[in-house]
């Protein structure tokens, strides 16, 4: 849980247009990944991996 949490904290801000008319809040998005079971945590890990990859590609 701690690893996932740290991973989530290190995520980058990749730019894609968001289509919300209300801001869901960064904290609430992270929490949705955490309570989303295996699938949610897998997405968090994927995002974390992308961050690392993009760091070394710079």
């Amino acid at each position: 849980m701690k690893v996932v949490f740290l991973g989530l904290c290190a995520l980058p801000c990749l730019a894609l247009p968001a289509r919300a008319y209300m801001d869901p809040g960064t904290g609430s998005i992270y929490l949705q990944l955490l309570v989303g079971g295996v699938a949610g945590v897998a997405v968090a890990v994927k995002m974390f991996y992308r961050t690392i990859k993009s760091y070394f590609k710079r």
Partner: protein, 458 residues
Amino acid sequence: MKKFDPASFKDPAGRVFSSRGRIFRELTPLGEKNWKEFRDSGLADELVQEGLLVKTWESSDPAHPAGVLIEHEPLPISYAYEWPPSMLRDAALLHLRLMERLLPRGFILKDASPYNVLFQGVRPRFIDVLSIERWEPGDIWAGYGSFCDAMLYPLMLHAYKGIPYHDWLRGSLNGIRPESFAKLFGWLDLLKPGVLAHVDLRARLHARFQRPGGALRSDVKMAALPASAILRNVSGLRAVIEGLPRRKGKPSDWCSYPANNSYDPAAREMKRAFVDRSLAQLKPRLLWDIGCNTGEMLRIAARHCELVIGLDSDADVVDALAEECRREGVNNVLPLVQDICNPSPGMGWACAERKSLFDRDKPDAVMALAVVHHLAVRGGVPLEEQLGLFAAAAPHALIEFVDRSDPMFVELRANMDAGQEAYGADEFKRCADAYFVTLDACAAGKTREVRLLRAKGR
């Protein structure tokens, strides 16, 4: 020019207006696209049939023949800060049920707000069809946060802390922020279902990440968050809400009032018969029962009305009435927590987004049985003000006067040295004659009188 409902300006997909008692929703191009996708999926009809969605159909507007206009079945206005706990719980579960029905078919609720729900009797109906839009892999549930703030947290406040949420929701229309709410919970509370994740951790994450969530949302989209992750959260929320215990502490004394009062059985029977007879004669479309308690007289009244709105300041008795209506399948009673000494005001933008109690559908009659002495003694409201308000609220009134010699009045006033000296049978007669014409009357025992009244000039 049509006047749009002041509560519908936020949605870029469309706006609501009413015309001659009918409710329409004018769609923008975005709203039209969303609605057509939803309609063509067949899901709209299914959800209406299942009683989850308000009855909705396409209509026409001579002023805009080309555009799509949708029409809804009109429902009485009520707000989350007026619902007893079981009704707020049902509104929250309705949101979760909709998410469970929508996501597998490629749709989602784009937000979550108790103001998107109205009640048909005690059955919740989702009214904002434009909140339903296409879901694409990676989209998160943007309404999760507001679901917690405005529905989950008030329910937890009631169930875990024994604190009524009505004043909190009335104070903040968007609900309770996690940063504030988490402060109410200690370490042991973290063991209670839902508190660790949805309250404590959410509050910590909000404190840590204070920037808006748009950019992160795009990241999640790129990582293709699957629907199963959202559904997992939804089922977790459902388990928390369904498992919430009943409020801490004993129910209010008013729940036992029907079995514990100063009526003798014959007087009570006379009162019941008079209420039955009077309302059979009036047949009001909409009746307000002010101080409805657990609804003994309200249920008699409901036989003769299209809709009865029961108002009482005690959330426990209103909840008991809602439970009974649900159990017995009564569909023309709407029980609301409402203190008539401090009724719901106009709130939100321009004080018009949420309507005051008196700016809604006007009742054809008000019923106030054995209430005037409470309003006088506890509320400090003189009879003159009370009867003036009842006469302004509706063309007819059914009012029970309780004399100062009645044991209930004596008990209420036992700890008071002064106040309401003018209260009495003569003052009641004077005020009733000033504002009303008495159509019929009945003595319910030696100290009580019920009058059927018609407001003067109406």
